[in-house]
Amino acid sequence: MMFSVATIAVFVAMVLVLFRLFAGPTLYDRVLSVNSFGTHTVLLIGIMGFLFGRPDFLDIALLYALINFVGTIAILKFFRYRAIGDHLHIASEEERKT
């Protein structure tokens, strides 16, 4: 019973975060929404494991938390430097003013 309540709450929260994801005026609103959506997904997977009586789902939740963090940092790094790994060059002050 209590896990049903928590599942419904997390579902409603995910829908609200999705509204912000599609409406967000800037890029950083969307990145924040994606990160928050990932955290909600981790919680939802854990709670649904308890709801269905199969707590093995927690391994998947842990994996999802790892991927979520790395993905957020990768998106931010890409939009900062326009590259993920190679050819990183930090913009100087004159380049940034243009």
Partner: protein, 123 residues
């Protein structure tokens, strides 16, 4: 049902209900707040309060098993990475030039640039 089971069930009801409350409050703030910086504050509520309370409630339901260990590992990981990624988003927005709206007569302090434009003369 014994006394201890009653107490544990009541405590986990309390933790899970309050965790659900904080999760919904954080998501509602992410949806409704007017400014990126205030949305950042609202999204952090889910990362800290809601996540910790929900995981503690699940730990109380699981008892002393391997499931509790996994839940604690997930909790520690989210507790470290949640504020880190929120800080990364805020830092990227600040570097890219996004500024909070200033109130009438209240001037914010312009942050120092990350790249030092003047070369260090002491070298």
């Amino acid at each position: 049902m014994s006394m201890t089971e009653n107490i544990v069930t009541g405590l986990s009801w309390f933790f899970i209900l309050s965790g659900s409350f904080f999760v919904i409050v954080g998501a509602f703030g992410t949806w409704r707040f007017p400014d990126f910086w205030s949305r950042l504050h609202a999204a952090s509520i889910t990362d800290s309060a809601g996540m910790i309370l929900l995981l503690v409630g699940m730990c109380l339901q699981a008892g002393f098993t391997l499931v509790t260990v996994k839940l604690i590992i997930i909790g520690i990981f989210l507790f470290i990475t949640g504020p880190t990624s929120t800080h990364a988003v805020a830092n990227a927005a600040l570097v890219s030039g996004l500024r909070p709206e200033e109130a009438e007569g209240l001037r914010g302090v312009e942050p120092k640039p990350l790249v030092n434009s003047e070369p260090d003369s002491k070298i």
